[in-house]
Symmetry: C3
């Protein structure tokens, strides 16, 4: 077989390392498309001049663009036969990435757990994005529910990894340049509210909504060279449970992040992903809203320029978030589609 049918659950081996295909040079072309697809307005990523004044050598890529590019590479090897993307943990954005850099990705299988019905199993991987020099730029764990080719197939070795509940503040942003919070022009950035102005427990409705079209999520997902057929093949998915194309979960994360500008304009960089769950699918024609909660505030050891806010962002579909739709009973309010716990930096 010269074509890739994707791995099934029994094809994974605990501890194996998978080098993923198609290295990718990211450019200002990707930045323009990312802006056009989500509408982010964070000044550091939008303006070379703003970024330089603040202490960066130039505007870095949106952290989520780096994440999606690295994620996309893993799909043909990890999740082509996945039924669901179950969760994220231990996500660390190790350094800013700039236009012109080339990214590639490697995954390590860190856990395997067969389902009791033996039809499927959960694969845990730690995926790392590398630059052209072979240095890591981000790393995260995710776990996916993957079909077995043969329910009778035996699994060599199983283990469920112990993953941290949250990335420790000391592990955040190890290679961030020294920044100058006095040179951070808050008016130009769009909000006077800095690190000190956010309190644990504070909740923010991000107000705005964004409707998603089929062309948009397909253009985005191909930009990331993510090939999962559920996002692209309307003919094949007619026979599936939903009967239509599913939108890549990362598209929802980027939409929610862009919407969060309205209330978190100075949360200028995502530096950690503590936990994340795609609670329900999003389809074209749906409108995404979001709200955030401040879970924690942390100083970064040895730094006085920026602090880290631990934020939980909840996205909902077809329902504005003024009422903060949330967990409900054993599950969630039916409007909720994303529950993401992450660390973002704010100038002090």
């Amino acid at each position: 077989m010269k074509t890739n049918p994707g791995r099934f659950f029994e094809d994974f081996r605990l501890g194996e390392t998978i080098r993923h295909a198609t290295p990718r040079t990211v450019t200002t072309g990707d930045v323009a498309l990312y802006t056009a697809l989500y509408g982010p307005r964070f000044a550091v990523q939008s303006s070379d001049a703003f970024a330089r004044a603040f202490g960066y050598p130039q505007a870095p890529l949106d952290d989520l663009l780096v994440f999606h590019v690295a994620f996309g590479k893993t799909v043909p090897d990890i999740s082509l036969n996945a039924l669901a993307n179950l969760g994220y943990a231990e996500g660390r954005f190790l350094r800013p990435v700039y236009p012109g850099e080339t990214l590639s990705a490697v995954s390590e299988v860190i856990g395997l757990k067969e389902s009791s019905n033996r039809q499927t199993g959960i694969v845990y991987v730690r995926s790392t994005g590398y630059d052209a020099a072979g240095a890591p730029v981000l790393s995260y764990c995710r776990w996916v529910l993957v079909r077995k080719r043969d329910p009778e197939a035996a699994i060599a070795e199983e283990a469920v990894p112990q993953l941290a509940k949250a990335v420790q503040p000391a592990d955040l942003a190890p290679a961030l340049p020294v920044l100058d919070p006095k040179a951070y022009d808050a008016a130009l950035a769009g909000s006077p509210h800095r690190f000190g102005d956010y309190a644990v427990g504070e909740r923010i409705d991000h107000v705005d909504g964004m409707t998603v079209e089929e062309a948009e999520h397909q253009i985005a997902t191909r930009l990331y060279q993510n090939t999962a057929k559920v996002h692209f093949d309307a003919h094949a998915v007619k026979e599936t449970r939903f009967g239509r194309r599913l939108i890549y979960g990362g598209h929802v994360i980027s939409l929610a992040r862009a919407l969060s500008f309205n209330g978190l304009a100075n949360a200028f960089s995502i530096v950690g992903i503590n936990a994340g769950r795609h609670v329900a699918p999003l389809f074209a024609g749906d409108t995404v809203y979001a709200w955030s909660e401040v879970l924690d505030r942390a100083d970064l050891p040895g730094r006085s320029d920026v602090g880290a806010l631990r934020l939980r962002i909840v996205a909902a579909k077809n329902q504005p978030c003024g009422a903060y739709p949330d967990r409900a009973g054993d599950g969630y309010d039916p409007a909720v589609i994303l529950d993401l716990d992450y660390w973002a930096l704010m100038p002090k």
Copy 2:
């Protein structure tokens, strides 16, 4: 409140200056998207080699891309609660802008006029786009109908500005490089017709039509970081008068300009906007056509390389423009959506 609810009419003060958020570095990525969204074929903006031969240091950005980026910044402060974008005047494109430059915007409130029913008022602003060094690159006036939060609220000071009917030729293109009309290759540009070939009163049907999709206008409008929710939130607008997303008026201007290549191929740069009106809304699925009329011809003081044509472009929806749909009675032919009076340069 950490989120921006937008200003209401009574929040504006005559004479105040508003610095808008999110500076933006424009790149060849933006140029590619602009080309892909409208299909412009003007050679100066399309080709570095052509632009250099003509006298530019490289291909400048499409003037309307610069306009939309500067315009987009003003939306969160000026028109988030606007009911209608009523008009434009005194638009001046002060110099060519090149990929890699960073733009920001400032608006001055130059007029306020409460409506007689006290529910709304008209806000007049002069918005200026600046480069990273703080020098202006374009400036224009627009006026918008904005809701009042409280109909009873008093307005501190009202005034209706006197705006010029047209930008004077002496004020056009003050920083245009010296160009060489002999080096302007008309065959490569797509038309033999130069400045001297157009007569006042001449009308041109631009023939071609372009249908607009939801994904296209959303991608464009986000590219400009224009956040007006009427363009993006299909859920919220279900309850509005039109029941659907409105297309950003600037999208229509860019479509009409791109269509005008067929008949005005050598009108290589827009240098002034005299007046403009969005006569009726455009919705996804509609097809845009356009026709132009030559209103005036002007030499630029001290220049023999190029002349300025004052053009009026009228866009219509779902009706080809062979019959030149126009003003009718007190209003317009129902097909008309845009009536724009502008100055463009042509090689002599």
Copy 3:
């Protein structure tokens, strides 16, 4: 008339040369859009680092992006009044093209053949794409069925050109850099299968499918500055045979090529087009699948780094290609939309 109504069949003269309008500087912005529109994953075009290790100075543009840009320029002069794009031959990609280069195009009329009913005729052209220095970068023949303005009009001189059945291996890739197949990292490229692993007669189902949206093909076709109204004007085409917008045939070629990565991941560059036919139209909402057959294998004279595979790719709509839909009787399986015979390079 200042607008271009397009040439009718009787307007063409055998042997005439037509310089096409609108030179175009291609950039990394175009590359990002191309990636986003089709999802190609060929490592040479995706990564500067990979391309450099292999022997290129940087990642070249996708060969089909170069083709589409050159093709687009010919449309206003050649095929604005075309009823059908009938075929391709003698396509040669003469050298890699890199971001920042400026392309223009010239066509020579190499054949004219009036139809027996005198309503239409076939125009044969050889179109050549040039760089800014005036050196050719690609060349191909195509023939189109064009309307006559006046069925009674006489045709000055007719001739049907003799076109080669295939480009000879000695004529392929004359300016390809010397490449290092040992430095070609097959794991990073996505497949262990090199030139020696493909056998004549071998067939490959590319498995995946891609559904096309109106916004996507319009964005792509405008990116190439291709102005054929059948792709853009939903209002006008309501009265045509199909009643809807037709998707540019080149869009199908690029989709098929991107899908072919799954099975031909190391076919890193297209260097010749031997023959091609758009068997049936594609419309928005359709899903494209593809399969390939290895027609021939050839060494390139004097080169041991790469070999050329002659491939036939067949695209079908709304039908996966596991059963290899193909010619049937006098025509084709009704699902088939494209039958393209081309040469691609593979590392040895």
